[in-house]
Every structure is written in C-alpha cells, then in structure tokens.
Symmetry: C2
Subunit: 217 residues, 2 copies
Amino acid sequence: MKVSIVESILSANDEIALQNKEILDQYGICTINIMAAPGSGKTSLILRTIDALRHRLRIAVIEGDVASTVDADHVATKEVPVAQINTGGQCHLEAQMVRRALGELPLADLDLLLIENVGNLICPVEFKLGEDLNVMLTSVPEGDDKPYKYPSIFVAVDAVVINKIDLLPYVRFDVDAFRKLVLGMNPDVKFFEVSCETGQGIDDWAEWVLHQRERKG
Amino acid sequence: MKVSIVESILSANDEIALQNKEILDQYGICTINIMAAPGSGKTSLILRTIDALRHRLRIAVIEGDVASTVDADHVATKEVPVAQINTGGQCHLEAQMVRRALGELPLADLDLLLIENVGNLICPVEFKLGEDLNVMLTSVPEGDDKPYKYPSIFVAVDAVVINKIDLLPYVRFDVDAFRKLVLGMNPDVKFFEVSCETGQGIDDWAEWVLHQRERKG
C-alpha cells in the first residue's frame, strides 16, 4: 500500500500572507513592511513619507503595537486612513492581523500601504504579511554592531534606512563600516541615510518608494 | 469516580529558574537580569558596573545574544569570567540556557552575576532565569513614549536605568514626564539617570547594586 504524503508547503501564516498579497495586488497597492528596534523612528519615518508623497500617492498606514494607539494617533493627524493592530503582548505582526486591518481600509482608494511592525529586531522577520518590500530602520545611537547580533533581519530586507544621522557628531557610528558589514550579508540591499528630525535624506527615500509603486503599475 | 487534577503550578521554565535561584543563593551570588531594546547600552552599562565595583565585588557576566560573541569579547577585556549564550534565533533567554552557562562560571568565587538578556522589550519579560532583580535600560534617543507601547516590561522591573543622558540636549525626551508615566505603572521602581559614555550617574547605580548584594548577605 502506498502512503500518500501531503506536505504543508506553506505555513498557515504564509498562506494568509499570500492571500493578503493577492488582495493588495488586485488593487495595485504597493505594501512596505517597516521593521526596527523600539525607538528607531518607524513612526517618524512614516510621518515624513506621508508628507513627502501625499500629493503623488494615496497612502494608508497599519500600526502594529503591543499596546496603545499613540503611534496611530500621530499618523491620524496627517489625515490618512490608519488601522491600529494591538497584538496584546505578541512580539510581531502576523498575516491574519493584517487581513483584519485591511478590512478597515479603503483599498480601492489606495496606492501605498505602510505597515509599522512591532518594535523588535528578531521575531517580525519570521512572519510574512503580504508585503511587496521589507525595510528595516536602524538609528545611529543604537551603534554600528547590530548586524553581528541580529543577522536575520539584515539578510531579509530590501532596504536599510539609517535614521537619526543628525546625531552622528555625538555618537560612535561608522557609516562606511556599517554599510560594508551589511553588504557582506545582503549584497543587493539599498541604503538610505536620513534624519526624520531635520528631514535630511527623506527626498531620496521618498523617491525610491515612489519608484517601487510605479514598478508595480 | 473522582477525577484528580494535578495542576502544573510552575511552567517548566519557572521550575528551572527556581533551581537556578537556589544554586545562586547557595553561593550568595546576587543576580541581575538586564533587559533592553537593541542598542540601549546593556553591554556598556555592564562594562561601567565592572569598572565601578571590581575592587569590592567578584563579578561574572552571562551574555545573551541571538548570534556572535562581540559583547562577550568586550566584557572579556575586563578580565572577569564571562559565558556567552547564543540563542540561535530565539528572542529571549530561558532558564535552561542560564543553567548551562552557570556550569561555565566559577560560582564559589563570585558575589555578583550580571545577565545581559537578548535585545528585546517584549519576550524576555516572560521568562524567569533565577535572578534576584530585573533591571531595564532605556536610552533617551528611543523617546519617552516607550512605557505606553511596551507596558509589561516597565511593570515587571525593579529599576529603570535611563541611559545616554549626554544626548538629552539633542533629542526630545522629557525625563520628568517619563518618570511620572512609569511610576504610575510601577510605584516601587527605582530610577537611575546615567551616561555610559561619560560615566555620569554610574556611581549612584553602582552603589545601589552594591547595596542589593549586601542585603543578600
């Protein structure tokens, strides 16, 4: 008797992520999953991106947090649609949470969806959400040794945004050494050096985001 | 027929943590579990603590990281015993990992054990290791809104060390508002304001650590 084996090729999360992607593709929405440690400036980057692109793209935001709506409240002041996911203790977003949040957003009226993941350099990497692109943010006060200690995220992302470059005079962070280290792990990664405080470098980042959306059609 | 229910009062992790604590108590070792986001300065605080207390206490360190030995290498330059735990992707330390690390340390010759947990504000809180005290580090460039977004850790700790106060002139961080917010969640918490870069505030912190060890016997 032959034994049939049906392999679960995709995990439950990845299956839902694929469905999310199909929904988002159908509406032509370019979706970026933004990951970082707590306090690297994910929300500030989202606010800057909205300011830079709001007249060229219709933008919405999904805010992922363990608790509270403080980030979503900030985003809401920009008058773009925003859905808050509170994970209730969980350390990362999952595709099912995003699915529910999509139900709260006017998908037919959107070009760009920015997802702010939970502040964590480890767990979010494992969970696809349905995004087109993964971006991580690192800030110079965190130090330039993070790729050694959290390699998985640096390998997984399409772009690394180095934030808080206005603080470079006051901390030890060797931008060239950092870039070289990350490129050794992920040769195709794009870098952006920005200050969400002063606005420096935001134009280049916004131009790249716009280009990603245009590539999508 | 009466059904007997045997409840698992402690999780497997907590049982091992309790055993770790018994071992450490037996040797009179005061153990501090240090938690923080990536890049808040856990290793720098440990290095400063060693410098401040090495002539008064016999100190060892357990370094927890997803990958690499860069932090343990730094600590080793101080010529104190150090055991590296690489979690291999896992986002927190567990009691069993600490148990193994204890086997690498000269317990009979120690007064103080500093455990650097994996850089993460969410997951480490759930896992007791056998420590006497839990301390969290937050750094001013991360912003003063973290207690809203990561409440569990602020509730769980005995002390909050506010690091990188040398950067206060360059970032927005309202120390009084932050302290008030945390005290509302955890009225018995101790605060320390330090700069591991300049050494400011380290004496007060080291004095407190010394006092914790003395209280233990």
